[in-house]
Each structure stands twice: as structure tokens, then as C-alpha cells.
């Protein structure tokens, strides 16, 4: 009995997320979300949960995670086009390629901390961006982007409409569950200790560099899965997938949602994509201005993001009850 209760306790957030995600096609259109936007939200949930393993746990702010997202998207596109229209081998090869790149970039960039680390990751991502636009043009399609992919297949199943959504949602649920497992493991503890006091950690017998590299590669793998799913969702890869704008968007999603909470960044991703696509219909270009104001307000008044707001509301709600 106790173990069952523990299982429920540990995975409450996963169950709630699964419930919200799987019922999304039912209620999302009522809020004005167009079909397909829900899929994009699921994909970015994967991206930001992975990003939180790096930023939220170890405190290392990468400005170059679009590189892994983009590399994986290009490789998936090329695989679908020239190897097989089955998405499974395409995703596996794409994630493997991005992981390898992440391992190399991680080894080089994690020698530095703070702003230097951020700048180095940004530089690497920009390097891949310009490579996609120049020497790799033959494969990436350069300015025009990579197009002409066949309809992706999951073995005999055509990946279209709701099938894509459910495939992405299930991936997001599994990957969120795994991230939660990592958080509860000794590895998660060591990663969070890096953020607190790296010197003490090293003097406590822990090789912090290996844990940082693991966090970096894991988060890159999440980004790569998101990138691959992006191609399954929409058969197009543009160089903006690799750009700093994409990296920055993930940072903003994480910060407004609540860094280090895993759930928060997903709320941030959903919020950003929903408002970007639904509100911008009314606001047009002004949307970015509104986003800027929201971002500043969160950073100044609510550094813990949406999750802090929720915690405060909970506290207020429960204290009033106690008071009565």
C-alpha cells in the first residue's frame, strides 16, 4: 500500500500532465487554439523540460540549444527524404547525431562558467547556423530551407492530424516522467548541488564536470527529440531552427514558467505559443512588445515565474481558510 501511495505521490505531476495533454484536442479548440498548435506545444514542452535539466538543475544557461534542435531537425528531414519515410530510424539517427555534437560542444564549453559558458554555446550555435547557410547548403537547402519530405510514416501509420498530436503527447509524457525520475535520483541531487556550491561538491568527492556534461547532453537529447518531432509535425526545416532567436525563446519560456521546476517551463512554453499564435491575431506585431513587458514583469516581481505565482496563490488561499 505504502509503495502505491508513494508512486502516486511521486508521479502526481506526471498524471496531471498526461490528463491535460491527452484531452487537449477536446478543449484546446474552444480556447481558440488552431489544430496543430497543440502539437507544437507538446513538442516545445519536450524542449523546455530538457532545457530545465541543464538550466534548472545545474544553473548553466545555454544560449545555443537551438543547435541541437536544428541539427536534429535537418537530419530527420534528410533521413525522411533520402532513406525511408519511417520516422523511427529518422528520429534515432537524428538524436544520435545531435547527441554526438552535444558531447563535443559540452566538453569544450563546460570548461567555462557563467556568462562565458553562455557566450560559447551561442557562438557554436551561430556557427552551425552559418554552416547550414553556406557549406552545407546542398543538404540543408540554405535560404529556402529543407522541403520535399514525403508524408512521414510510423511503420504503416500515416503521421497526419491527430496521430501526430498523440504521438508527440505520448513522447512528452514519457520524457517528462523520465526527467522527474532523474530529479529524484542521486544524479539529480548532484546536478542541483552544482548550482548551489560547486567547490563544496568537488571537495565532497564528486566529479562535477562529468555531471555537468551529463546534464548538458541529456538536455541536448531532449532538444533533439523536439527538433525531430518538429519535422514530423511540419515537413519543413529552415535555418531559423538553428538561430539564436530559437535559443532565446526557450530561455524566455523557462524563465516566465519557473526555472528548475520542470512543470513551470512547460507552462511557459504553452503560454508563449498560445499567445504568440492566438493573441497575435489581434495584436499583430505589437505582440512582441507585450511579451517583452510580461517578461520584464516576471523577472522583476516574480523571479520564480508562474510556479512562484501558483505557490503564492496556494499559500494565500490556505492561510485564509486557516484564518477563518
Amino acid at each position: 500500500m505504502i509503495t502505491q501511495n508513494n508512486f502516486w505521490q511521486h508521479n502526481k505531476a506526471v498524471f496531471i500532465f498526461a490528463l491535460v495533454a491527452l484531452t487537449m484536442p477536446l478543449w484546446f479548440p474552444l480556447m481558440g487554439g488552431y489544430s496543430g498548435l497543440d502539437t507544437k506545444i507538446m513538442i516545445f514542452c519536450i524542449f523546455v523540460v530538457g532545457f530545465d535539466i541543464l538550466l534548472g538543475f545545474t544553473g548553466y544557461l545555454s544560449f545555443g540549444h537551438a543547435a541541437f534542435f536544428g541539427i536534429s531537425a535537418y537530419v530527420t528531414g534528410i533521413m525522411l527524404k533520402s532513406f525511408s519515410d519511417n520516422i523511427i530510424p529518422a528520429i534515432i539517427v537524428a538524436v544520435a547525431a545531435a547527441t554526438l555534437v552535444a558531447l563535443i560542444i559540452g566538453l569544450l564549453t563546460l570548461k567555462r562558467t557563467g556568462i562565458y559558458f553562455s557566450i560559447l554555446t551561442l557562438a557554436f550555435a551561430e556557427m552551425f547556423d552559418s554552416m547550414a547557410m553556406s557549406m552545407l547548403q546542398r543538404w540543408t537547402g540554405g535560404e529556402n530551407g529543407l522541403t520535399g519530405m514525403p508524408t512521414p510514416m510510423l511503420f504503416d501509420l500515416k503521421m497526419q492530424g491527430d496521430t501526430v498530436f498523440y504521438f508527440c503527447a505520448i513522447c512528452a509524457i514519457i520524457l517528462f516522467y523520465l526527467a522527474k525520475r532523474i530529479e529524484r535520483s542521486p544524479v539529480g541531487l548532484m546536478m542541483k548541488a552544482i548550482k548551489c556550491n560547486q567547490t563544496r561538491l568537488e571537495y565532497t568527492g564528486i566529479n562535477a564536470r562529468k555531471y555537468k556534461l551529463l546534464a548538458f547532453v541529456l538536455s541536448a537529447m531532449y532538444a533533439a527529440i523536439a527538433g525531430a518531432l518538429m519535422v514530423v509535425y511540419e515537413p519543413f526545416v529552415g535555418h531559423e531552427f538553428l538561430g539564436w532567436h530559437q535559443s532565446g525563446e526557450v530561455v524566455i519560456m523557462s524563465v516566465i514558467g519557473g526555472v528548475g521546476t520542470l512543470v513551470g517551463p512547460m507552462l511557459g512554453a504553452a503560454f508563449m505559443l498560445y499567445f504568440e499564435n492566438v493573441m497575435s491575431v489581434d495584436l499583430g506585431e505589437q505582440w512582441l512588445l507585450v511579451l517583452g513587458v510580461i517578461f520584464m514583469a516576471v523577472v522583476i516581481f516574480m523571479p520564480g515565474g508562474f510556479m512562484e505565482a501558483i505557490a503564492r496563490l496556494k499559500k494565500r488561499f490556505f492561510t485564509t481558510i486557516d484564518g477563518e
Binding site: 539529480g188 548532484m190 555531471y211
Partner: protein, 250 residues
Amino acid sequence: MAILDIHQVSLSFGGLQALQNVHLKIEKGSTHALIGPNGAGKSTLLNVLTGMLKPDDGSVMFDGKPLLNVNSYDINQLGIAKVFQTPAIFPEMTVLQNVTIPVFAARDGSFNFNMFEGRAKQRPLIEFAEQQICELGLEDHMHDLAGSLSRGDKRRLEMAICLANKPRLLLLDEPTAGMARHETEKTIELLKSMDDGITKVIVEHDMNVVFSLAEKISVLSQGQIIAEGSPNEIKGHPKVIEAYLGEAQV
């Protein structure tokens, strides 16, 4: 038998000779104090022992194994723990999490790829961490954030972190610096009550602490060991008085 053998260690920062041919043997199970005026090289010597600084010359052997060119975490895994001058803890974590880290470090070594193992399921390890916390009198703060503790409690927590992976040699860099009298007394009691199997090296300015704990004292001045002996021998040693007070006026 010497657990730590420092042999002819020299280190200079630019033109400053921080350590000069330092010879030091620390007996197993003893409490050895390093004293000396400011800038004598005491902290530098500790930093050499923990792998933070690489000496220009000389060798350091710990229990028969060389310590030079070994990473800090590997040195800790060999059994050397350091208590910092300002308590080094994990402030944003709970007291229990703070002590759980060295417990897992003792079990898993410097790195382990066990990403999906539940920490809470390792009951014996968590219980051991709890026991360490109780032994240092922090049981009331088990689930408090470490950063919210008082300075004395932070120091105790740091000791708990250091002791949780069962070190054989404990290096203490001014463990009572900035403490009130009664906190200092408590720290002395704590160090005295510690397991005799643990060798302790204490760098300290407070002579009360030094003389109530140390079995042997080495005096450093300008990067050199100028005297060594029992507390009584050191008290009246002319070279020591000279180093601390300047040359005697006749």
C-alpha cells in the same frame, strides 16, 4: 606511522615564495595544529593537500599514495576532507540533502550513471545521513534550508558533510574563525569527541583552541617550518616568539 608525508614542498606565486622546502609528517590518529603569523603559508599548504594548488617542487604522500596532480574529488575519495574557513555548504538545499550528497559519494565514487534510481528507496543510506545530522545536534533542522541556519549550525552541517563519507584525514581551516566564545567551546568539544581514527590537521589563530586540541604543533613562518613539537615545547620556543612578536629588543 605517518598518514601524511609532506616532503620538500616548495611553491611560489610570482616572486613570492609561499612555501619553502616544507617537511611535515602527520601521525595517524593525531591532532596536528599548524600555526604561524598571517601570510606564513598555512592555507597555501592546505590548498596543496586538497589539490587546489600544484607545488613547484616536492612530494606529498597520503597513506602511501601520491597526492600531487590528483583532482580535488579524487583526493576526497581517498579519504581527505576539508572544513573551510567560511562554512561551505549547499545553501539552497535542505540539511538532509546536504548530508545525502557525501553519503552517495561514498557509495558511488566520483561519478555514477544511476539516473533512474530513486534516492528515497535507499533507506539505509538516508538513515545514515540522518544519524550523522543527529550526531552533530542538527536533528531539529533536518528539513530546513541549509542557508537559513545560524553560523554555528552551518559549521556543524559542514562537519556533518565532511564526516559523512568517513574521511581518514580531516583538514580544518580556522574552524572557529568569527565564532562567539560559547560556539568555539562547542566546536572544541565536537572535535575532541570525534572518532580517534580520524587524523586532524588544524590551521588556527586562536591559541586557546590550538592548546586544548593539538597533540603536536608545527609553526610556519614565511613559508618555512621554524619549529615543531608538543604544545609545551612550542609555548616557550624563542623562534616562535620572534616570529609572532618580532625580534626581541635587548
